[in-house]
Symmetry: C2
């Protein structure tokens, strides 16, 4: 009885104390703004209190929770899939954008533009069942390595953001991912890596169909875009999946601008944050002129409205786990 | 200290004991099948154990959690909206299906069929912001009364199902609604009535758009169908929102058939259930020949595969709260 009691008390205390949250964040205004907001949101009676069922925090993924250079990691996945499937598609040797992938010609791939990327994604992501696709992603995420850093992609998640997700959940927040990336790609590993269950992942999607395949009722993935969860699409995706306006949102690019505006547009306490990639040495430095993760208009609005701007170089003591 | 300790222990005990779950269910095979499944699913080491993150139960709404006669309650909502908006649309007096609504001509309305219903829903549900629509539904659900029973619609929820939702949550299940009805209609009151938060409601939807309206960033509802969460659509909706195959599913009509098949198609322990409307005295009795909530093929498959079939008349000691 005593032991059970101590355990119960202890779990209270460990939640309540949380003596040093966000250890990879350097002391300063950025860290204070976040900790103060969360403390107030979870303290009944405080001015910044937020009822438990409204404590919803949304996070972009690429460039916010993990790195996105030299290209979105899901593009590398699509390229690896094209290589793995090339034997069954001999015509790809002579057809763009597949030819560019098979010849590792990044310039030709860039020339193929967004249309080329969509073609790649359709060819490499559709046709199988949801469960088959899950298996493919699971294998890839375990074995694939980043082209320049030569580490697993999941080693390039941001340690300070993992701590923030934890800290939020310990204070009764729901943590959601709202990504321009594919919802089914992310869901496979988001729970293990970020502690975010599949149902709390919002992302871009292709259409699916219910089917009996070999006597088994399955979801089949179709080569047709269903929803693009980027820019204007992010508030729409949030509304569709969460059905409530978040009180906290973090992004890193103009693709997250509308999500931050939507979050800011509600009543009561709220916190909007941008990750600013300023550390060329430990990570990558880019903003207004970057092809990937361009941060321009959202940065202007963040400065004008006093949103939290995280300076990776000065605010983060550590970047990767 | 002692008091805190007792409280902590007590909350453990009250969860663990749950001496008499499902009090409105009569003793018998149906109740036993459900209780045994849930007990096993939440008992580590038992053969029927289900890991916590896979304990997902899905429920149809109309005819499964609340009544659906003499017509889906959301149709009465749409009709009330048309009446409330008629002054701004003088042409409705002479245009079907609006004329039928304004003249309370249920026969003409039935003649307008599914197309008529869609026209009504588009006219009555779209054009406003998500928050405006939420306010309208909130007012309606508080004040509207059922046409023949003359009670609020929320009095026509099934007490045994409320108890089942509670029992499942107390045993670590997530409870989801997967309805052919409108997602935004349901989300307004599902939390208060069923204890199901907005994010755990899946339903049919119209398209929406992000917009700045009078300087406020909002979601605007468009008069265009986005997704029909019925029949083949239910497994697709489950996959889209939950991203995991449920282990328990309850429905009451052929519109739920594919959801039950999809749930049955997974590995490991699972329970599929149908509510069979057999009580003409306390509720309504209907199945194979009903226009609303037809239950035919799903009933055959349920009997063939030994799914749980709840006989409302004999299995439920009490129907409404």
């Amino acid at each position: 009885m005593n032991r059970l009691c101590s355990a119960a008390i202890l779990s209270f205390v460990s939640l309540a104390a949380a003596a040093e949250p966000l250890p990879s964040w350097r002391d300063g205004a950025t860290r204070d703004a976040i900790v103060d907001f969360v403390d107030a949101a979870s303290s009944e009676g405080s001015e910044g209190f937020v009822p438990a069922n409204e404590r919803i925090a949304v996070f972009d993924n690429d460039g916010t929770l993990w790195a996105e250079q030299p290209a979105y990691f899901q593009l590398f996945f699509a390229m690896d899939r094209v290589r793995a499937m090339a034997d069954q598609h001999p015509q790809w040797k002579d057809t763009q954008p597949f030819k560019a992938v098979l010849e590792n010609d990044m310039e030709a791939l860039a020339d193929a533009g967004m249309e080329g990327v969509v073609t790649l994604v359709m060819a490499s992501h559709a046709g199988n069942t949801a469960e088959e696709f899950e298996g493919i992603v699971r294998d890839w995420i375990r074995t694939a390595r980043h082209p320049t850093r030569d580490v697993p992609y999941t080693s390039l998640v941001y340690q300070p953001m993992l701590e923030l997700l934890e800290f939020l959940r310990a204070n009764g927040f729901q943590t959601w991912i709202v990504s321009g990336g594919g919802i089914e790609f992310l869901r496979v590993w988001a729970e293990e890596i970020y502690g975010v269950p599949p149902a709390q992942v919002v992302g871009s999607s292709i259409k699916t169909r219910f089917e009996n395949r070999d006597g088994r009722p399955v979801i089949v993935r179709l080569p047709e875009i269903d929803f693009v969860d980027d820019k204007d699409g992010k508030p729409v995706g949030i509304h569709r999946h969460i059905g409530r306006r978040p009180v906290m949102a973090f992004g890193n690019s103009d693709g997250d601008h509308q999500m931050l505006q939507y979050t800011a547009g509600g009543d009561g306490p709220r916190l909007m944050g941008l990750i600013h990639h300023t550390d060329a040495e430990r990570e990558w430095a880019y903003d207004r002129d970057s092809h990937i993760g361009r941060l321009d208009k959202a940065l202007d609005e963040a400065r004008r409205r006093n949103w939290v701007v995280v300076d990776m170089k000065s605010d983060w003591a550590r970047i990767f786990p």
